[in-house]
């Protein structure tokens, strides 16, 4: 830098600073964790889930009810952490037009059944052996929970273990905004 005058040095320094700021913004500036799901506000993809009790469940059959769709795995510690919360929440909401569905992913059936027995297994639970439902919902880890309103639209997604307060808050919002019309069906 011997050849440059003070003004030249300042210009070089300013250019480097500006470039570093721009690069930093481009790389880190728009990183929000967890990333909001692009599925929010869109219609929930229909699926047929093979339940652990041998029945089959089609999501579109639940139209008119609010659905809490929870993706989990038996080896996942945060899932174990939230499992008692989900069971307790299901008991609080089972007389309301709300259906709790658990979808076991990246897991083996025996471990999943042991997990369900351990944590109650009150609500509907099934396995997604090929991961098709998980990919269709953009699942990138467990636990992840989607809140689907009575019209079948995804209104929220929560990444990580839910607490009682969060369930009440998020389900409360969906229930308030949902046009409920399927009150004849049993919830969960």
């Amino acid at each position: 830098m011997k050849g440059l005058g003070l003004a030249g040095k300042l210009v070089v320094f300013a250019a480097i600073v500006v470039l570093l700021i721009l690069l930093g913004y481009a790389v880190f500036g728009n990183k929000v964790f967890p990333k909001p799901s692009p599925l929010i506000g869109r219609e929930a993809s229909d699926f047929t889930l093979e339940l652990f009790n041998g029945d089959k469940l089609r999501l579109s059959d639940l139209r008119g009810k609010v659905v809490l769709l929870n993706f989990w795995a038996s080896w996942c510690m945060p899932c174990r952490e939230e499992a008692p919360t989900l069971e307790a929440s299901w008991k609080r909401y089972k007389d309301k037009p709300v259906v709790f569905i658990g979808i076991d992913v990246w897991d083996d059936k025996d471990s999943a059944l042991a997990y369900i027995n351990q944590f109650g297994g009150g609500y509907l639970n099934g396995i997604d052996p090929k991961g098709e439902i998980a990919v269709d919902y953009g699942v990138g880890g467990v636990p992840e929970t989607y809140f689907i309103d009575a019209s079948g639209k995804i209104v929220n997604k929560y990444t990580g273990p839910l607490t009682d307060e969060m369930v009440d808050q998020l389900l409360g919002k969906v229930l308030l905004s949902s046009p409920l019309n399927g009150l004849t069906k049993e919830g969960g």
Binding site: G3, L4, Y25, A26, V27, K35, P38, G131, G138
Partner: protein, 164 residues
């Protein structure tokens, strides 16, 4: 009679060729699907891995994603449609290379801009150094001025006095 034998032979040869062709078609289609599936899986990042593409990862999700890519190709979906499907599920962060739009264009253009600015600075620095070097050389090649000559003479005189 000879003509009939020839026709029969030609018929068998054609039938054999058709048979081999029919046998090879599914393999060729499967090879094409495998190749395209691999190509697509290199363009997508594994959502549960750090810095690995779907092709590189051994995670269960990446395995399932590869199977889904193959399935969609078999259904006749194009590469763009399959990539658009994954983007619609996971967002643009699933793409190995961010599309050059919005703030992402900075990622594409900044290296070139940095290279230009850096090159410019180095060029300017070299030019200035050369200019200064030439100036110094010119200075050294000039005949000494009267005051310089007097100074040298005085220095010599004083040194001799000191040594004696």
């Amino acid at each position: 009679m000879v003509i009939k034998v020839h026709i029969e032979r030609i018929f068998y040869i054609i039938a054999l060729a058709v048979f081999i062709f029919v046998l090879l078609i599914p393999k060729s289609i499967a090879d094409d699907i495998d190749k395209e599936a691999r190509e697509i899986s290199y363009l997508l990042m594994c959502p549960v891995c750090e810095g690995q593409t779907v092709a590189e990862s051994n995670s269960q999700l990446a395995n399932q994603m590869r199977a889904i890519i193959r399935e969609k190709l078999q259904e006749g979906k194009s590469k763009d449609e399959i990539i658009a499907y994954f983007v619609s599920r996971y967002g643009e962060t699933i793409l190995g290379a961010p599309p050059a739009k919005g703030v992402n264009w900075l990622l594409w253009t900044l290296p070139a801009i940095a290279l230009l600015i850096g090159g410019g600075i180095i060029g300017l620095f070299l030019y200035k150094s050369k200019e200064e070097g030439e100036k110094a050389q010119e200075e050294s090649q000039k005949p000494p001025t009267q005051s310089e000559l007097e100074y040298v003479e005085r220095l010599d005189r004083e040194l001799k006095e000191f040594e004696s």
